[in-house]
Amino acid sequence: MPERRTAWLMSAGAALMFIGGCFNLFFRATPSLFHFGTQASVASDDAADDDDSCADTTELAMAMTAWRQTQQRGIHSALSTEVETAPVGGDIAPARSVVDAYASLHSVAVDPDANQVMVSDSNRGAIFFYNRSAGGNSSQIANPERVIRGPSTGMMFVAGIALDTTDREVFAVNNDIGDRMEVFPYDVEGNTKPKRVLSVPHGAWGVALNPMRKEVAVSIEHPNTVVVYRREATGSEAPLRVLRGPETELADPHGIVVDTGHDEMLVANHGNWAPLTREEEQAQGGLRGGHFALPSINTYAIDAKGDDKPIRKIQGAQTQLNWPMGLSLDATHDEIAVANYGTNSILAFRRNAGGDVAPLRVIRGDRTGILGPMGVAIDVKNDELWVTNYRDHTAVVFARTANGNVAPKRVLRNAPAGTPAVGFGNPGAIAYDSKRGQILVPN
């Protein structure tokens, strides 16, 4: 009897494999029979119901669509009229692909009242919603409650996120060539259109909400700028004000946070500075060239604009700042936390610190599980501090006042423990080191 059952299962399996194989061959031969959708527009109504929330399927759909159109236009894959002497190319499958199949966790935000933690994924363009208590000591993946992802979302290299906990909305800015900010309600998921989309200057990284003034501020890396919009701004709406100029001492700004209690705005800077264009350099009295400043946390008046100076700066060797990324404000305890990417650490400062000051606390060391920290969020209600690791598939949770080389309270994994993190962020160039047989990939 067991033999007969085994034989039946084998037959059934073989039949399924045959059917699958036929489908595969048919699919490859006639891809145009299979509809994958066409170019998705953020504002397109007919894209809203597309239930494809799988990034890889999205990529294949895009490739197939483009391929069909290419074939229809008669542009051939490989050979020109010089076919006799041309090296043969075509639709060649790669021998190897270094691609991260998992999310790269970028920024983090916590809504303790909703018991939710939101994390942005700049690898596959997504926002993950987790229960606030997700994670633990398991080596397995923590399941999100919801995921917003897919072509209709318009998200690509999502960087900073911010929460409006009153109106229950998530604000996300796209770095690289996304040049936009999307706003989603808390309760949506899948491949859904944003509630609002706003065009922003190139190089957006951080986003911060000001519920008192009903404004949203966005840091822009390339032009060393902070732009401030109406909270409800959408489409091509112009900013209310722009903070930019040499006196601002903004230099490759990243994380940004608004302090409504003191009407201030804090901005993390990497220190790279250059005029944006040749015309701009010439307008300043001739070419002066770029320069490297020390990294800093600059504080501005909430209504700062134009070439306004910072009220104060945390900057200098004592600060330990090293490629500061995300910022978080703890208004209750009058502190700020800094995701200090360059030294795999979290720095805590007094909110009103200035000058070359040492941090109040530093979470750093091999027990912390901090690796490439990009985002940080303080949850005062639960006395916790969240950190997203770009160089690991984890977010780690500490006691708010953790200090030194301490283990996290919980680890939230989006890949099984030990899964390498590729860590790409749209590698725009590569090089081959022929001496070492290595591929060099910058971000």
Partner: protein, 301 residues
């Protein structure tokens, strides 16, 4: 691009692979928007621009961690403005740098350091330089190929000042539509990552364009597929590539980075949408030198 670094992978790395080495941290002076990278086998160095500080950094090729560059080209005399692409002329010992918003090509000695003036500068209206993110030099034929806004421009290698390109590879047959990206050169042929994404921004810097209306479509959903293409550097006009890698099974959607490994017959291409690096085994793309054969059929020494 949200975080600056250079990651080093073994040639045979595949799938979810961790870098074997990282160059990262404040001390490296790296910035984001690294659109150029070149390895110098003669000096065993790597050259990388920092577009956000108007600088070109030169590292030991074996650099690791928060290592400071060996040399930093930066300052008003460099005339660098948003340097994006770099290329090396190993024969003539030069570093070529394309300034994106500066719309110029700066040429430096390969040992330049500090506030060094370029030895040559291609710029001006005749050059037609616009969005330049790729460069490749052919020292044999003394030609310079430039990946320009919608085309490939060819200059003489030693051109200087406001000079018109001597050749142009552009048009529908080329398949290049928008922002051709990194280029490499090998034995008379240009290898190009033709991104074909369609990047529109409603802002000119931080100023909203007067004609700004709706938010543009996601540039990576442009249905015109990108590809890796090869041309002869002597091509001119609307010339189809000699060969290309393109199509759904290639995995290429909007490729941007490109590197060559002729010894192993491989081409490496980075893709924006895949957010990955794909390795193709294509020895047919690397024509071997024909051996000199004696009348008796034996290979001459």
């Amino acid at each position: 691009m949200t975080q600056p670094r250079i990651a080093v992978f073994a040639r045979l790395a595949n799938g979810d692979a961790a870098p074997t080495r990282l160059i990262t941290g404040q001390n490296t002076l790296l910035g984001r928007t690294i659109h150029g990278l070149a390895y110098n086998p003669t000096r065993d160095e790597i050259v990388v621009p920092n577009a956000l500080a108007d600088a070109v950094l030169v590292f030991r090729a074996a650099a690791a961690g928060s290592e400071h560059p060996l040399r930093v080209i930066e300052g008003p005399h460099t005339l660098l403005v948003t340097p994006h692409a770099v290329s090396l002329d190993l024969r003539n010992q030069e570093i070529l740098v394309a300034s994106l918003t500066g719309r110029r090509i700066n040429v430096f000695r390969w040992d330049a350091n500090g506030d060094a003036a370029p030895v040559r500068l291609i710029e001006g209206p005749k050059t037609e330089l616009g969005h330049v993110v790729g460069l490749a030099v052919d020292p044999e034929r003394n030609l310079l190929a430039v990946a320009n806004t919608h085309e490939i421009l060819i200059f003489n290698r030693t051109d200087n000042g406001d000079v018109a390109p001597r050749g142009r590879i552009a048009g529908p047959k080329t398949g290049i539509t928008d922002e051709p990206w990194q280029m490499e050169f090998y034995k008379g042929r240009i290898f190009l990552a033709a991104s074909n994404h369609f990047h529109q921004n409603l802002y000119d810097g931080v100023t909203l364009r007067p004609d700004a209306t709706d938010v543009p479509d996601d540039p990576w959903l442009n249905p015109i597929l990108g590809f890796m293409g090869i041309w002869n550097i002597t091509d001119n006009g609307d010339v189809a590539p000699l060969a290309m890698i393109r199509g759904p099974f290639s995995g290429l959607i909007h490729p941007v980075g490109l590197a060559l490994n002729p010894k192993d017959g491989e081409v490496y291409v980075s893709d924006s949408v895949k957010n990955g690096v794909l390795g193709f085994l294509v020895p047919q793309f690397f024509p071997q030198e024909k051996p000199n054969v004696n009348s008796d059929g034996r290979q001459s020494k």
